[in-house]
């Protein structure tokens, strides 16, 4: 088992290095000059060239790459061109809203998807089952920005039930900030519930048709125990897989939702960084996201061990 974990960690390092390299190359290939952008429209080409020199952007690309990788391995992700602060500090500030947003969205998605998915499988063919499937289809097809915009306009602006945007001002405490995350979490929760619902339903359908379920019933177990203790536990692996993937996706930054609701998370940061050509921040964010993604996948795989005793690594 330890060997398994070590193997996975090594794999993680390889993935991160790959992502790093690809990110570095692609971003540098894109045209656009952070210096010219920062100085504004009245700056002359000479001024932009001077600033580029000062920012070290004229160094040969391989040198820039090697120094970046070298520093990254020591935990130094460089300095943001735009903020003039260490990238790690910028990212740490942005991690909090994104992680909480991902967590809340996942919780809401689970609250919607799991009970309905189980019940839809249990009462297969019923009106609830059919409604659930078509609603899930709708939720998955409608773009998240549209859902976000509609919720923002009607629930926040028109009805005033939630703040329209932001993450709270200087005097906001933790609870006010979490309050700002409620509406975007609902949006993301609904959008992401569809896949989990379908997987839950499909997996439960498989399991509910198994012999041991019939056996459990004939032994006189209550339906409640049959469905939840026997069926669900056995159906869990695909469901956990899709939950893990969903969480990883959410944490990589719900870019559009963060933009619409002006949440200062990693998704919003990476969009702004791309528009500003803030290379260190773009690279840093991609590394963190790739690492998180691989890590969450590892955790998901380890979770199987808890659920299914037959799984061995």
């Amino acid at each position: 088992m330890t060997r398994y974990i070590v193997q996975r960690m090594v794999g993680m390092l390889v993935v991160v290095l790959l992502v790093l390299t690809i990110a570095f190359v692609i971003v540098r290939l894109a045209p656009g000059d952070p210096a010219a952008l920062m100085l504004g429209p009245e700056a002359t080409p000479a001024e932009a060239a001077e600033l580029r020199e000062r920012l070290g952007l004229n160094e040969p690309i391989p040198i820039q790459y090697l120094s970046f990788v070298g520093n990254a391995l020591r935990g130094d992700l460089g300095t943001s061109i735009f903020f003039n602060q260490p990238v790690t500090r910028v990212l740490l500030a942005r991690a909090e809203p994104t992680v909480y947003l991902a967590l809340f969205s996942l919780i809401i998605a689970l609250i919607i998807a799991v009970p309905i998915g189980i019940y839809a499988a249990y009462r297969r063919g019923s009106w609830l089952d059919q409604t659930a499937i078509s609603t899930a289809m709708l939720a998955a097809s409608v773009p998240s920005f549209w859902t976000g915009l509609m919720f923002q306009r009607y629930l926040a602006t028109e009805l005033g039930w939630f703040p329209a945007a932001g993450y709270g001002g200087p005097d906001a405490d933790f609870w006010v900030r979490m309050g700002h995350l409620v509406l975007p979490s609902i949006v993301l929760g609904i959008v992401n519930s569809a896949l989990i619902l379908r997987f839950t339903r499909a997996s439960m359908l498989d399991v509910l048709g198994e012999d041991y379920v019939r056996t459990a019933r004939s032994k006189g177990m209550t339906e409640w125990r049959v469905v939840l203790r026997h069926a669900l536990k056995n159906a869990a692996i695909p469901i956990i897989t899709v939950i893990g993937l969903t969480f990883a996706l959410l944490v990589s930054g719900a870019v559009v939702t963060e933009r619409v609701f002006n949440i200062p998370g990693m998704g919003n940061l990476v969009v702004s960084a791309v528009l500003r050509r803030d290379y260190p921040v773009i690279q840093g964010t991609l590394i963190v996201v790739a690492t998180l993604y691989v890590f969450i996948n590892l955790l998901t795989d380890l979770l199987y061990l808890l659920v299914d005793k037959r799984v061995r690594y």
């Binding site: 010219a36 500030a93 809340f104 001002g169 609870w175 200062p264 940061l269 702004s272």
Partner: protein, 508 residues
């Protein structure tokens, strides 16, 4: 934790979060202003972006500023300067008893050092540096600026909040400021990039005695705090304004006008006029170095269609020829018969005369300003009807910013500008801009324009300059457009401006 406990905790969190939220009220005397993005720097000498001017003008000040009619008015100076008879020496008396946010007093040494830095580091300062012979302190409260020749735009440059000649304490100056400290009515409390810039009233501020007159005159510091909140998505700025979360929102899409007008929480603020979209022409390299091709371009463009496609609503645009709108002293009619010809046949003749062989005309634009892109699309159709081959290079703004610095890559790029109080503040007229328009007669007119000191003379010279813009096709003004901002219903003290200021703002 079992599932039910997690459930309960989350439900509790949501409930508490919701109850803690309420529509922000003026009761706490803070003003929340939604701006279009995070300011690139808090030192206005280092960037010419408008969002930088908007925020920095609250904590740093200049010797002069503009009043409500865009006349230069004194701010840190006592009065307008004493100008010598030959127009070359400006003697400026400084107000006394002015303190900086760090407690130090302002004196001529601070002013001289700040102005020196401005000529070395600020784009607009650098452009004028070689005309300045010396900047000196005469005594503790007087400075003198000596020019190599008369230069009438100098005062406007010293008044402009963009690339501002801001006055800092001598001690904080350097390539980067060691602290952002100014004399302004508000000082920085906290800055969390991409979240907010929190400014608090500077209690030791010395306001001028006069009544507020635009940005000039008294600055009343009515709000305890002003918070600038970067909100990059324009729609989110609208929603935040309408839901009461923001007291003011800049840069709103024209389509949201009706919704804001109907709302009880907010009212629209129409900047009429705001500015002008521009086709900037490459005089250094390429097709448009030939006057006949430029004239063909000018003849072919359908300004009415372009403006309509870009703005869609009569409330928001005007097809108007002179460089300045109605009511501005610089407005005149010279050369305007060449505007909006919309004559593709004539353009085709001019192209023939130029011996045009089908080289693509490259238009560099971006969808980041959707109205630029729409104008380009309409222009393309008309230009093709006139016989041009047109190549549209549509890129993001960062790429455009880089490409327009290389004259080998474009023939036209699209931009826009607010109407600026002093024509010489618009770099387009100058041969040193990236357009490189260096026609000799125009250069002579421009030189005379910037050295003349009599206003009537300057207005006549400007008419000649405008004529050159049309006859030599220096660049093309497409029309005039209005901009939309929004404020909390009943708020007073905020004047419509491309660089809105909030020291006199008071919601109802």
């Amino acid at each position: 934790m079992s599932i039910s406990r997690t459930w309960m905790t989350s439900a509790a969190a949501i409930a508490i979060g919701l109850s803690a939220y309420s529509v922000p009220a003026w009761a706490d005397n803070t003003l929340d202003v939604a701006i279009i993005g995070e300011a690139d720097t808090l030192d206005p000498m280092l960037s010419t972006k408008d969002v930088v001017s908007i925020v920095t003008q609250h904590f740093v000040e200049t010797l002069y500023t503009f009043d409500a009619n865009w006349n230069v008015a004194p701010l840190l100076a006592v009065d307008l300067p004493e100008i010598s008879d030959d127009g070359r020496t400006y003697r400026i008396a400084l107000r006394q008893g002015i303190t900086f946010h760090d407690g130090s007093s302002m004196d001529s040494a601070d002013v001289v050092a700040s102005l020196q830095r401005w000529t070395e580091m600020a784009s607009r300062g650098k452009a004028v540096a070689d005309r300045i012979e010396a900047i000196e302190a005469v005594d503790a409260n007087t400075v003198e600026i000596r020019m190599t020749e008369p230069y009438s735009p100098l005062l406007s440059l010293l008044a402009f909040s963009n690339s501002a000649a801001a006055i800092y304490p001598e001690e904080v100056l350097g390539e980067a400021l060691s602290a952002i400290v100014g004399t302004g009515p508000y000082k920085i409390i906290e800055h969390v990039p991409d979240q907010y810039l929190q400014l608090g009233r500077f209690e030791a501020y010395q306001a001028r005695d006069e009544e507020p007159n635009g940005p000039a005159g008294g600055r009343l510091q009515l709000a305890d705090e002003i918070r600038f909140i970067p909100v990059p998505d324009p729609n989110t700025r609208v929603e935040g304004l309408l839901s009461g979360q923001y007291d003011f929102a800049d840069g709103l899409p024209a389509e949201s006008y009706a919704r804001i007008a109907e709302s009880e929480a907010a009212e629209p603020v129409l900047l009429r006029p705001f500015g002008w979209p521009i086709f900037a022409i490459n005089h250094k390299d390429g097709l448009l170095t030939d006057l006949n091709v430029r004239k063909a371009l000018q003849a072919a463009l359908p300004h009415d269609d372009m403006m309509f496609a870009a703005f869609g609503d009569d409330n928001f645009f005007i097809v108007d020829a002179p460089m300045y709108p109605e009511g501005w002293t610089w407005r005149n009619d010279a050369g305007t018969e060449l505007y909006n010809q919309n004559d593709q046949a004539r353009a085709a003749e001019l192209l023939d005369a130029a011996g045009y062989e089908g080289t693509p005309l490259r238009i560099l634009t971006s969808r980041q300003y959707e109205f630029h892109f729409k104008m380009a699309e309409v222009a393309k159709m008309a230009l093709e009807a006139a016989g041009f081959a047109v190549q549209m290079d549509v890129v993001d703004w960062a790429t455009l910013g880089q490409r327009r610095n290389d004259p080998a890559l474009w023939d036209i790029y699209i931009t826009h500008s607010p109407f600026l109080p002093e024509p010489a503040l618009t770099s387009l007229y100058s041969a040193t801009s990236r357009l490189g328009w260096a026609e000799p007669d125009k250069e002579a007119t421009l030189a005379a324009f910037t050295t003349a000191t009599d206003q009537a003379e300057r207005e006549a010279l400007f008419a000649d300059l405008q004529k050159a813009v049309f006859e030599d096709v220096g660049f093309i003004k497409i029309g005039g457009f209005n901009a939309l901002q929004g404020q909390r219903t009943g708020m007073t003290g905020v004047n419509p401006s491309p660089w809105p200021y909030f020291w006199n703002a008071r919601p109802q």
